[in-house]
Symmetry: C2
């Protein structure tokens, strides 16, 4: 039986700029009754994604903002602890959009995906490579980036949960792959372990110069997770007919005023290139196919996965902040209880 009280983290104030501890509060509160048609999920892994920072703003883009006073919305992995829905019996493992809370009580429709009973990989992978990150990398690269064998693909936030997969998938498709990342240790991970052809450390190196040296045939696909100056630098080296996938703008998501746009966007004109925004929601039909191929690659060892895992619900705000400090490697998770 599940308890009647739970801990949860709620939004106290909309952050201006970087998030602070005082923007959040850890509360203890009563669990709502599980209504007919609902399930109660015991959350185990919270998926810490840059998108959460966007949802904290008053205008959140393509989804509703999180209301002040509400629990922080978050993708998560959990197990059904109490069920009043016949398709989701107790004990079922699921992934979905839950919250920074010990238990989420909700109606499963449109929200939950079941995790196989014996997945053959850690269940937490369903919050990363076999969840949103994997779909984002696979669908954005395949359907917007459209890389062809032999082309040059550049990806930013290359050691992150999405970027590390984008680069590996592009390698599987026979591309030359350059990753842009922050630190030496990340640069070594993506080149030595993940097989990227080169890494550029944007904090220590001249990005334009390094792009020139490492992309002798120019850039055909840029998978942009960061926006800002790096996007502007990449625009200097794009090829005729190249494709820029706008997947995130982690460098700008904390800004309350929009910084100047990329002045080199004008090269889209001379290079007849495209820059296109992308969210996985628009490719729901392709999810099953993508999920199947990603799972095969993971099981066969073609796609390597790394997790940065913190322990304890109270770590979630720090984990989120850490995404924007470049401290994170691979998929960021908060584990809030044992499986």
């Amino acid at each position: 039986m599940s308890p009647s009280l739970q801990r949860k983290i709620v939004l106290v104030a909309r952050p201006e700029g970087e998030i602070k501890d005082s923007d959040f509060r850890l509360e203890e509160g009563e669990l709502p009754e599980t209504q007919p048609g609902q399930v109660r999920i015991r959350n185990v892994y919270l998926s810490i994604d840059p998108a959460i920072r966007g949802w904290l703003n008053a205008s959140a883009g393509y989804v509703e903002p999180i209301a002040v006073g509400d629990v922080i919305r978050s993708a998560a992995i959990g197990q059904i602890a109490e069920s009043k829905h016949e398709d989701y019996p107790e004990g079922t493992w699921v992934s979905g959009l839950m919250g920074w809370e010990e238990y989420s009580t909700l109606s499963p429709q449109h929200t939950l995906r079941k995790i196989p009973e014996k997945p053959g990989v850690p269940r937490s992978y369903y919050a990363g490579v076999l969840g949103g990150n994997g779909l984002t990398a696979y669908l954005g690269l395949t359907f917007v980036g459209k890389p062809k064998t032999g082309e040059t693909v550049v990806v930013s936030a290359a050691a992150g949960g999405v970027g590390s997969l984008v680069g590996q998938i592009a390698k599987l498709q026979g591309c030359r792959v350059i990753g842009i990342t922050s630190s030496e240790v990340k640069a070594r991970w993506i080149t030595e372990e993940l097989g990227f052809d080169a890494a550029i450390r944007y904090r220590d190196e001249d990005v334009v110069k390094e792009l020139k040296a490492n992309c002798p045939k120019g850039i055909d696909v840029y998978f942009d997770n960061v926006g800002g100056m790096i996007l502007n630098d990449v625009l200097t080296r794009i090829n005729v007919g190249s494709r820029i996938v706008l997947c995130g703008a982690i460098s700008q998501i904390n800004e309350s005023e929009l910084p100047p746009g990329p002045s080199n966007y004008i090269r889209l004109l001379t290079k007849r290139a495209s820059m296109q925004g992308f969210v996985t929601l628009d490719y729901a039909k392709q999810w099953p196919e993508a999920a199947k191929e990603l799972a095969q690659w993971v099981r066969s060892g073609k796609l390597l996965v790394r997790e940065t895992r913190r322990h304890g619900l109270e770590q979630a705000p720090a984990a989120l902040r850490s995404l924007f400090l470049g401290e994170n490697m691979g998929k960021s998770l908060v584990q809030i209880c044992e499986e």
Copy 2:
């Protein structure tokens, strides 16, 4: 027989910022011999296009810059005065890439298109609606903008040689069309004569506010001839899945340093929209189909054409400068001799 001397306008110095009279020189020089395989064309109409300003820069984008000392390259309409090429007999009217000069001596391949003997429209139209402007408007709108019936299309430089056609073609396709232009007289022309649904005068009106009022369902296609702040304003109102056609950046072409880019480009991400550069060269296969449909529309009166015509070769630099001052209405031409 054609003469042995001709007048021409050459580039004296690469302009910095706005063009000045001293960047050009009117020269008299000897006509080169017409070699076997070549023709000599008596130029009648010079097509004055913003692209010429780009060619004056050291880095001209997707074509070679004009060298200092060389004649100014220009699309033009002329008649063959002397021929050493059997496919182009004397008297044939042609359009092509010629120069600001009385006679152009060249090899016809890849350059010249013949104009029908009895075109049924003014021959000068082959420099505009039935030439580069028409192809640009038709192909850019059709293949990059992809408007659907009932959608909202916005076009900038809406009273210009390209913009005035884009808006009319979008109306023929059943769209709501809003034109952004400079003056009251232009605003009245495009709404009262060309059938645009509304005009926004960017010098006198709040563009964001007017876009909001005039595009109640948001913007599905933006055909961008100007770049800069207007692009940034349009980005505030784009719909999910919208398409921005980058066709020109007349507001930036005079700048020697790139101005800040559009900070609202980030809305491409939240709106899963695309921004794509476009030049007609990439759609050569579709030229005949486009030219045929444009000619039908012009002859049946569905597409209205207006020309701003100056007289005398020496007027060419002023005509070019005038494009950037918003003084121009419809297609800008310099007629350098009688037909």
